[in-house]
Symmetry: C2
Subunit: 133 residues, 2 copies
């Protein structure tokens, strides 16, 4: 089961780098890649992105819109997302390792990492207080 290097993999990894600071879905990566490389299939994009996470070259982003999202690299950080327009941004706040210790003490899990997702309204959507729940 050793992995092979293919052109598709490097193209898709490069695409993810081009999205640096963003949190694209596999379909967004596909659209982007598709412009220059129309022969690369959607299925391959899904497969390669999942593989990059396994290989520690990318990480999943857990945005509350519950669809797959990825970003290049494995730096631990948090996200804010807008519940109206869905925009996701990085939050440059220190990773709270202390919380993991507390959780371990309480539930007996071996905690490896944690995710923090802030949810609210982005500056653009704060104005349009129409579509609110």
């Amino acid at each position: 089961m050793k992995k092979r290097n293919t052109l598709q993999k490097s193209i898709i990894l490069d695409a993810l780098k081009d999205f640096m600071g963003k949190h694209p879905t596999p379909n967004e990566v596909y659209e982007y890649v598709h412009e220059k490389h129309p022969s690369i299939s959607r299925a391959t994009v899904f497969r390669v992105l999942a593989g990059e996470v396994e290989d520690g070259e990318a990480q999943r982003v857990y945005a509350p819109d519950s669809s797959l999202r990825y970003e290049y690299g494995t730096r631990k950080h948090y996200h804010v997302s807008c519940r109206v327009c869905g925009k996701v941004e990085d939050v440059e706040m220190p990773y709270q390792y202390g919380l993991e210790e507390i959780a371990e003490g309480l539930n007996g899990f071996k905690v490896e990492r944690h995710i923090v997702e802030f949810i609210g309204l982005c500056p653009d959507c704060v104005g349009n207080e129409s579509e609110n729940i």
Copy 2:
């Protein structure tokens, strides 16, 4: 647009109460409800659960498996989940309101709430160190 009370709504809300401490998907709620009330449709379960969140009777749970999950009530708390078996548990730790202030200051969003998901291995799976990434 005023809401009406229907038998379906109370049956589904009761079902969610029966899942207290759990974090069922709409389909799990549907299966459960379906046994005693086979005439209630899946679509209604989806609609009613979403409505209960609007009404502040239930809340969505954002587990990293990215599918809809709900739980009865609106108490703010965090979750741990096992990356091997998928088990989700509540973590009884104080809600970190302070983090929200920091995020607001950094990104300019109006932060309404946040989610913390701890990920690791549950006591059962810590032993079976075979299926690890």
